[in-house]
């Protein structure tokens, strides 16, 4: 999917505007990124960069890497949402910045 924004926080805001159902899975009540949510820009974890302030540019691939336990996944989406969303790893939840 393609999202726009100059930094991760803006890209996530755009993502949650496009797919509101994903918001509670990504953010806690204080609108902070949940600790088990790992976001990578290219091959780098935003925790090793500037967190949600990490700048992104045109064509950057942002990946959301869920914690899966062999039969478990953090993102529980209904079938309807799943049909709208690409699958949750690699290219799957890869988002491209515009």
């Amino acid at each position: 999917m393609t999202v726009s924004g100059a930094k991760i926080s803006e890209a996530l805001a755009d993502l949650t505007t496009q797919y509101p159902a994903i918001a509670p899975h990504l953010f806690n009540e204080n609108n902070e990124l949940r600790p088990f949510v790992n976001l990578f820009v290219g091959e780098h974890n935003i925790k090793d960069l500037q967190g949600v302030d990490t700048p992104i540019k045109d064509g950057d691939k942002v990946m959301l890497i869920p914690s899966i336990a062999g039969g478990s996944l953090t993102l529980t989406l209904s079938q309807r949402e799943r049909e709208q969303l690409p699958s949750p790893s690699g290219e799957g939840l890869g988002m491209r910045a515009q």
Partner: protein, 384 residues
């Protein structure tokens, strides 16, 4: 120390011996190696088969489960003839048939904080082929504390992840996932589904990494996470760094001994009765049948996904998939008594939690789900 290979073994491993990266010395190294495989299921099947075929001298298998026919879609180490047997015995039988030269030690017990160090300490490396968060964190912490490599693989539906967590040389599992997701966000193993071939792909990659680590060849996935998606056929790699705040391998680590992992993850790891919403909420299939005979207008709420209704359904039930319950509860009347069900009882328990927090009180959870209904009341329905 076993120094030599017999003529039979030289013939058996000749395709390895031909490659300079393995060669005779490498094959002897494998013969003197030991690997503990946690879980003899989807991931453990290909891992154990290929490691046995490769001539790893000693393989340990930990599992406490029994082979079920629903396992055979992906757990290829077992077979129709071993349904009903202990998984570790079924697996050992297959491995010894594949390679009688190796030693297979079986541990028919759950992998827990009580036995994990004892079981793991004599093995060169550990394969994480588990299916739940508590055992994954346990496996990680044991490996960090014993200084052993943890060959990690995990799967869901069409997605897989592989890495080598070796805290002495790179990050550990906790560096990437400091804490597990809250239990409410996690569907249980048997509910989510998985492409049967996926653990084959991921387990085979784990076996490859294990062999490389044992032989000291190539570049193992230390500090890297492989992300595989079978639908798109994509392989992505991301870089993992040691987390300076890691509670088990960081400089200020405060977890120095094994903890209660079920409590840490907020979910049961073993022998979990995740088909119940708690005794107060539960209704058995037999009791539901009796209730329906007395009160045919009793509302039934099926919280499974629409495609599951094609497999089995209870006539007259209203379908709202679990993921939509919060948004669609206006369609339900909290004054009316309602029995909620899913496949096994865990998603319906979650739905009851959601509805209870919105003020619904007159609810029951069908314990064991539609599978229990099929077993106890309506045998015309299939189990799945």
């Amino acid at each position: 120390m076993i120094e030599e290979l017999s003529h039979d073994q030289i013939l058996r491993y000749s395709r390895h011996l031909l490659m300079p990266e393995v060669g005779l010395q490498g094959q002897i190294k494998l013969k003197n190696s030991s690997v503990l495989v946690i879980g003899t299921g989807g991931l453990g099947s290909p891992v154990a088969l290929y490691l046995a075929a490769a001539g790893i001298g000693r393989i340990g298998l930990v599992d406490y489960d029994i082979v079920d026919s629903s396992n055979l879609q992906r757990q290829v180490i077992h077979g129709t003839s071993t349904v009903g047997k202990l998984k570790v015995d079924s697996a050992k039988e297959r491995l010894q048939d594949l390679n009688p030269d190796i030693q297979v030690d079986v541990y028919n017990e759950p992998y827990t904080s009580e036995n994990a160090m004892r079981l793991a300490k004599d093995y060169d490396l550990i394969i994480d082929g588990t299916d739940n968060f508590p055992t994954r964190y346990l496996t990680n912490d044991v490996c960090v504390m014993l200084g052993k490599p943890n060959i990690y693989g995990s799967i869901f539906r069409f997605d897989g992840q592989v890495s080598v967590f070796h805290a002495e040389k790179g990050p550990c599992y906790r560096c990437l996932f400091p804490e597990p997701p809250p239990p409410g966000l996690v569907p249980s193993c048997a509910e989510g589904g998985v492409l049967g071939i996926l653990p084959g792909t991921i387990g085979t990659l784990q076996a490859t990494e294990a062999l490389k680590v044992l032989l000291g060849i190539g570049e193992p996935l230390i500090g890297k996470l492989l992300l595989y998606n079978a639908l798109d056929m994509t392989f992505d790699f991301v870089t993992l760094k040691k987390n300076p705040k890691c509670r088990v391998c960081g400089p200020n680590a405060d977890i120095k001994e094994l903890i209660d992992y079920e409590e840490f993850c907020g979910v049961p790891g073993h022998h979990a009765d995740d088909t119940s919403a708690g005794a107060d909420w539960d209704i058995t299939a037999q009791d539901l049948k009796a209730r329906l005979e007395r009160d045919p207008s009793l509302i039934l709420l099926d919280v499974r996904e629409p495609h599951e209704l094609e497999i089995a359904a209870i006539e007259g039930a209203k379908n709202i998939p679990l993921g939509e319950v919060a948004q669609r509860m206006a369609e339900l009347d909290s004054a009316e008594e309602m029995v909620v069900f899913c496949k096994r009882g865990s998603r319906s328990a979650r739905a009851i939690e959601i509805l209870a927090s919105a003020g619904f009180k007159k609810m029951k959870n069908l314990k064991g789900g539609i599978n229990a209904w099929a077993e106890e009341v309506d045998p015309s329905l299939p189990l799945y």
